[in-house]
């Protein structure tokens, strides 16, 4: 039998029971659509996170007080003592390495900002002039933090675009005073509208000199120290430099955690890949269920078409040919169902992008291939048993039935 004729014959068989065929196609297409859509969303989330981190620059090293590996089971944490703070002096010491291009200490807190009776709660970043470059921020107007010693608590601030709009409307803000956590400070610059960066909406930020932030937040410690390496190759040496410098200053204890963007990126990348595989796997189960449905329905079809199968044998079909006919039918179902599923899945991801544009839910190629592959494979495997049963039918008994 020619392949095209086999397909044609299988099509007439599928067409002769439309409801049954439609239900099997539905099951198959839902399975494939689920795989495509869920992996698309998982992949979108991964790309989103990776993109967020990349915007920070990958040759950045972040120093965090405390060792994350040991933080949960030391005596210090049990009695409620936090690890030793990072200080401005630590930051200054780190800046002296020869691999360091830029360094910015960082403090974060939430404070009230007030002007002429308008008031709102904003996240306040305390840092230095270097933050502008390190964090890839852009100024709309005015200047960023002054290039001066970081110990100077100069009462100036740079407003995020939204904070500016809400406090000043269309008015000029440069040189004006606002009240930040009860202290007066002068507005020297306004950040450009830029969206989000590492979880902070830069439109809603207020940036102040780090010493001023320490005063406002009443702390002598730092939240982070950001160090940018001169080049990617020097990253490991830089990490070593930071570890030894801090150990020297902290009486021999390496009580900081040093993370690079690369490692953070790699971790998130890994987490989201695993997550995507997991949802793909769960969606894959629905494909297997669809396969079982196909097997069940084909077994019924074989029982119903006993006479026809017997007849085909009498007309010169061998066992292999009978099997091939039934497998063709199942593969046809899986192919059509799979293609419908892809269509459905892509429509779903398109709809998701319309609703939530930042999430680029393009399903990865491997997911499409895997979904179609699983559909075809389950179709094939689940048709083998019915096909074998059909092939082994005794033609005489099959034909004796009326």
């Amino acid at each position: 039998m020619r392949p095209l004729d086999a397909i044609g014959f299988a099509l007439t068989s599928l067409g002769s029971n439309r409801v049954r065929t439609a239900l099997m196609l539905l099951a198959m297409s839902i399975g494939v659509a689920a795989v495509v859509l869920l992996t698309g969303i998982g992949n979108g989330a991964r790309l989103y996170i990776v993109d967020q981190f990349s915007s920070l620059g990958t040759n950045l090293v972040i120093v965090i007080p405390g060792r994350t590996e040991t933080a949960s089971n030391t005596a210090a944490t049990l009695i409620g003592e936090t690890p030793r703070d990072l200080t401005l002096n630590d930051a200054r010491a780190l800046e002296r390495g020869d691999m360091v291009r830029r360094m910015a200490p960082l403090n974060i807190g939430e404070l009230n900002v007030k002007r002429r009776g308008k008031e709102r709660q904003v996240p306040v970043l305390g840092s230095t002039a270097a933050l502008l470059e390190i964090h890839h921020l852009h100024l709309e107007r005015g200047t960023f933090l002054p290039e001066e010693d970081m110990e100077i608590a100069r009462p100036v601030c740079v407003l995020g675009a939204k904070v500016y709009r809400e406090l000043f409307g269309q008015e000029n803000a440069l040189g004006e005073m606002v009240k930040l956590g009860g202290f007066r400070c002068r507005v020297i610059g306004i950040l450009a509208t830029e969206g989000r960066s590492l979880g902070f909406d830069t439109e809603e930020l207020v940036v102040v000199p780090v010493a001023f932030a320490q005063m406002l937040l009443n702390t002598s410690g730092l939240f982070r120290i950001l160090v940018e390496a001169k080049d990617l190759g020097g990253l490991d040496r830089l990490k070593k430099h930071i570890a030894t410098t801090i150990a020297k200053r902290h009486y021999g204890e390496e009580d900081v955690t040093i993370i690079t963007q690369d490692s953070v990126l790699a971790t998130f990348d890994k987490i989201f890949k695993v997550l995507t595989f997991t949802v793909a796997g769960i969606a894959g189960i629905s494909l297997v269920v669809a396969g079982i449905l196909i097997m069940n329905v084909m077994l019924m079809a074989v029982a119903q078409r006993t006479a026809e199968i017997g007849l085909c044998k009498a007309l010169g079909a061998g066992q292999l040919q009978i099997m091939a006919l039934l497998v063709t039918e199942a593969l046809l179902l899986s192919t059509i169902g799979g293609l419908l599923g892809l269509l459905l899945g892509f429509a779903g991801s398109w709809a998701a992008v319309q609703v939530y544009p930042t999430l680029q839910t393009t399903p990865p190629l491997w997911a499409i291939v895997a979904a179609m592959g699983t559909a075809l494979l389950t179709g094939f495997i689940s048709s083998l048993l019915p096909a074998r049963r059909a092939a082994r039918l005794d033609p005489i008994q099959a034909l004796a039935r009326h």
């Binding site: 039998m1 020619r2 004729d5 014959f9 007439t12 068989s13 067409g15 002769s16 006479a307 026809e308 017997g310 007849l311 085909c312 044998k313 009498a314 007309l315 010169g316 079909a317 061998g318 066992q319 292999l320 040919q321 033609p395 005489i396 034909l399 009326h402």
Partner: protein, 225 residues
């Protein structure tokens, strides 16, 4: 030419052996018109199925055109069935979702004949069998006689050596039955070997050679007149 030599077929039903064919020897020459008759359960259907390569004997030899077919594989048997044997049945066994023409083409389809040739050959038979205006109808739109004519066309489209008919008129009224018998007899006159299994003495008597089967054995084998 068909030659059975001491062919036995034994079924085991509920632990008991049933000898459906007990050392049957039978020779059928090309162009013969032969009827197989006998009571129910006598083994005449088994004999027909064996002749048609649908059933394999437990012992004995079956030579079809000089070839021993008892040792053929399933695929070889199927190929031999396809080339040399045509079947018609009491219940026609047409595929309900296919048109008359598609049903007639089934053996060619299974044999892998190209579409154009299938169309030509089936069209010729459709005209010859007076089914011209019925070719695109499905079986449920055909009368019993028309259905059996479609079945006969299907059986002979591959130009087999022998046509095996299992109660071909059993499901037809007298007129339609007579038409069908005339049709197959005409085919026989043109050289096709014809074997008819029937209960109906009136049909059976028309053959030139009568074989009676009783309890799995050939009880009599006589030529008419």
């Amino acid at each position: 030419m068909i030659e059975l030599r001491e062919v036995s077929r034994i079924f085991t039903v509920g632990g008991q052996e049933v000898r459906a064919m007990d050392k049957v020897s039978l020779t059928i020459n090309p162009g013969e018109y032969l009827s197989i008759m006998g009571p129910s359960g006598s083994g005449k259907s088994t004999l027909l199925n064996t002749l048609g390569l649908l059933d394999t004997p437990n012992s004995g030899t079956y030579l079809l055109d000089g070839q021993n077919v008892t040792s053929l594989s399933d695929t070889q048997l199927a190929a031999t069935r396809s080339r040399k044997i045509g079947f018609i049945f009491q219940f026609f066994h047409l595929i309900p979702r296919l048109t008359a023409q598609q049903n007639i083409e089934m053996p060619l389809l299974l044999a892998g004949t190209p579409r154009k040739e299938r169309m030509e050959r089936s069209s010729r038979l459709i005209e010859a069998f007076g089914l011209g205006d019925r070719r695109h109808h499905r079986p449920d739109e055909l009368s019993g006689g028309q259905r059996q004519r479609v079945a006969i066309a299907r059986a002979v489209i591959n130009e087999p050596a022998v046509l095996l008919a299992d109660e071909p008129t059993g499901n037809l009224d007298r007129t339609a039955g007579a038409e069908i018998i005339e049709l197959v007899e005409n085919l026989n006159k043109n050289g096709l070997t014809l074997v008819v299994v029937t209960h109906d003495p009136e049909i059976g008597e028309r053959a030139r050679r009568h074989v009676r089967v009783v309890d799995g054995r050939i009880a009599s084998d006589t030529l008419r007149g």
